[in-house]
């Protein structure tokens, strides 16, 4: 089959540097574009280059586990054996378990932790508060980084439309815990604040009318139990933000070559830039194959001229693909212009789903193309991907 190339003449496959020299790679992008697979391939490649790599997924669809030949992924690093000189570990984020262990860590007494863990409001929060998954993903990343067991940590992130949802997750959780509501609730225990007490009661009555009094009681109990732990969370959030902004951390955006994804990913890149973070890599995933170099219009014209003859359907089919490739090409051009990433990789739609290591190696071929074998930083970087096929 002809080599499938999509889009304009941008360089391809330049993600080598990322897996060879960075310590943290964060894969972001809209849902359904293949973030998890790309994250897996990056970690696999690092282990092929002799590094100790771990990949963490937030995707409950178990696709990464399947691709790595595992039944299930636990909430802690699980070693994946394979023919590579380095190490490959994988885990799947369990939001609630991660939150539970944080609570246990920061509680002052065991009874405090128990009271919180048993609270219904806390359970709802651990499972459903918007942004909690993002927060726990960063928390887990932070823990893994602290352990210093790995040379490279790759994480894929929940599909967020807005980069800020991810970057701001630490601040948002502390903001939530530091909420005015919480302050209101704490007020009765402080001297001289009778007036607030009255205001609190009025608000609570109003809220009770809407959601029912049991729910309010749960929330009050939670915030009371949580007292004294905010400081620990606040401090940790601060350090988590520091890790994301660190020079050893690289952000990779994964996108598909479609109008809505272009808009979303462009917006995403803007927000990252505003936060002082540059996008190191852009992966355009699942591009349609392009056959030949002809213009879509001339292929279509030929299909029309030859319609009714045995060559007709062959040209019609070719024109269908050329047309797709041309349209995608213009989206890739605007993605490149908007994201201004240092490296670009285009991965064509494969003829089968990626469900094993062979499939991942196939993707690696496009992420680390040998002609872009990058300013090889180490001796191991002699493009093992090229031999992996």
């Amino acid at each position: 089959m002809t080599a499938a190339t999509a889009g304009g003449g941008q360089p391809n496959g330049g993600l080598s540097d990322l897996v060879s020299s960075r310590s943290v790679v964060v894969c972001c992008g809209p849902g359904g574009v293949g973030k998890t697979t790309v994250a897996g391939v990056l970690a696999l490649e690092a282990s092929r280059r002799g590094r100790r790599a771990v990949v963490m997924t937030v995707d409950p669809a178990k696709r990464l586990a399947d691709a790595l030949g595992l039944q299930n992924l636990p909430n802690w690093p699980h070693r994946v054996d394979g023919p590579w000189p380095g190490e490959l570990w994988a885990l799947m984020l369990d939001t609630k378990a991660t939150f539970d262990s944080l609570v246990t860590k920061y509680s002052r007494r065991q009874t405090q932790a128990q009271a919180i863990l048993a609270n219904r409001f806390y359970k709802n929060m651990a499972e459903g508060l918007s942004g909690i998954q993002e927060y726990m993903a960063i928390e887990k990343l932070f823990e893994l980084n602290d352990e210093k067991r790995f040379d490279l940590i790759v994480i894929d992130t929940p599909p967020t439309r807005n980069a800020l949802d991810f970057l701001d997750a630490p601040r948002r959780l502390t903001g939530f815990i530091d909420n005015k509501f919480y302050k209101f609730l704490m007020a009765p225990s402080r001297p001289g604040l009778k007036a607030l007490n009255v205001a609190t009661a009025a608000i609570l009555r109003g809220v009770s009318k809407v959601v029912g009094s049991e729910v309010v009681a749960d929330a009050v109990t939670f915030f009371q139990a949580f007292e004294g732990m905010e400081e620990g969370f606040r401090d940790r959030s601060h350090r988590m933000r520091g890790l994301l902004a660190d020079s050893g951390t690289a952000f990779v955006l994964v996108a598909s070559p479609r109008r809505d994804a272009v808009r979303e990913v462009g917006f995403f890149a803007d927000k990252l830039r505003q936060s002082g973070i540059l996008v190191k890599g852009l992966v355009v995933n699942r591009t349609h194959p392009r056959f030949g170099t002809g213009l879509a219009e001339s292929d279509r014209e030929r299909a029309l001229t030859l319609a009714g003859t045995p060559l007709g359907p062959l040209y019609e089919n070719l024109a269908d693909f050329s047309q797709m490739a041309a349209a995608e090409g213009s989206h890739i051009d605007s993605l490149v212009a908007k994201v201004r990433a240092q490296a670009l990789a285009k991965v064509p739609e494969l003829s089968t789903d990626v469900h094993d290591l062979d499939g991942m190696s196939e993707i690696a071929r496009y992420l680390f193309a040998p002609d872009e074998a990058a300013p090889a930083p180490t001796a191991t970087a002699t493009s093992p991907a090229a031999t992996a096929i």
């Binding site: 002809t2 909420n179 608000i203 049991e214 729910v215 060559l311 797709m324």
Partner: protein, 336 residues
């Protein structure tokens, strides 16, 4: 079945499926089909996505206020915050509403009762349905996993919240979801392994856990069959005395092989689907364009009409005035 009969099986049609399978496009095509059958349509979208308006050639995002996108088709978005404020206002609780909005308390409240945001949105949909805002209300649902928790929110909330207006709202929503004459789900998938697995799981969960009726399954993006892709380009070119450029035969052959390969894979998945899901199935063709416009939507609307025509009429359930006097499979009108 005729298109009118199909879309009026319930007053609300929820279009659900995994991200990227074309829910928004199917919603748009369904709306065109219904409008063409003379029905008024309201499309509701939830996530502030731009896809729906742009499928109708509009660059402006949808807002909380209804807007006409095409003849007979209005559209709007619903967000939880706006729905809550409106609800509280209407129920003489505007003081609480202001407090919630200004103090950040809404986050605390929606955590206290998870799914409250979903209930507010569905509650608003229910209100539109009760007010007969249109003959057909099409809800472009959140992506698969979310769709399930979105639709399960009513049942979950009724379990957790024992009193208050939210409980009343959740009960009302649950009644709507479980009444097949008021609400049904139209599932969308593409013939690929993971989306097929997911739609099968979603279908089971929707029926078992939510108790919502399924109107059918749309399989989107099927490569139209092109006969004659087996032909050897060199031979047929020779036979026709058509000259080929150097390498052109290889290019034609590679493209033909790729399509055939994809078609085989799609057929396998179609067979799996047919085995796993006993649902009325409508197949829509792949459109070779990256961003679909109104003419593509109309192509799909016509395919929907054809697909619906091939479905058997459902056994008569409740007497439905609008389904009476139906004509056999009228053509989809593309000109207005």
């Amino acid at each position: 079945m005729d298109p009118r009969e199909f879309v009026t099986q319930s007053r609300v049609v929820i279009v659900a499926g995994k991200g990227g399978v074309g829910k928004t496009t199917v919603s748009a095509a369904l709306a065109r089909m219904a409008a063409s059958a003379g029905l008024s349509v309201l499309i509701v979208e939830l996530e502030g996505k731009s896809g729906l308006a742009s499928a109708f050639g509009s660059l402006e995002m949808l807002g909380y206020t209804e807007r006409t996108l095409a003849p007979g088709i209005k559209a709007r978005s619903i967000t939880a915050d706006e729905a809550l404020l409106e609800y509280l206002d209407e129920h003489a609780l505007s003081k609480v509403a202001r407090k919630l909005a200004t103090s950040g308390l809404i986050d605390v409240v929606s955590t206290a009762a998870p799914g409250i945001k979903d209930i507010l949105i569905l509650g608003k949909v229910k209100q539109l349905e009760q007010a007969r805002a249109a003959d057909v209300i099409i809800l472009d649902a959140p992506a698969a996993g979310h769709a399930l928790s979105f639709l399960m929110s009513a049942r979950a909330l009724v379990d957790v919240v024992r009193s208050g207006v939210v409980r009343t709202q959740a009960q009302g929503v649950l009644e709507m979801l479980t009444d097949a004459r008021r609400c049904q789900v139209l599932l969308v998938t593409i013939p690929e392994e993971t989306p097929v697995n997911e739609v099968v799981e979603t279908a089971d969960a929707l029926q078992d856990k939510v108790g919502v009726a399924l109107a059918g399954l749309v399989v989107n993006g099927l490569y139209p069959v092109l006969d004659g892709l087996d032909a050897d380009p060199e031979k047929v070119a020779d036979a026709q005395s058509v000259g080929l450029f150097e390498g052109e035969a290889d290019v034609l052959r590679a493209a033909a092989t790729f399509r055939q390969r994809r078609q085989e894979l799609q057929e396998e998945q179609m067979a799996r689907l047919a085995k796993a899901l006993d649902l009325p199935q409508i197949v829509l063709p792949a459109i070779f364009a990256v961003d679909l416009g109104l003419s593509d939507v109309d192509t799909l609307a016509q395919a929907l009409v054809d697909g619906v025509a091939a479905l058997p009429s459902p056994p008569p359930q409740a007497p439905s005035a609008s389904a009476a006097g139906s004509k056999p499979a009228p053509a989809f009108r593309t000109s207005w």
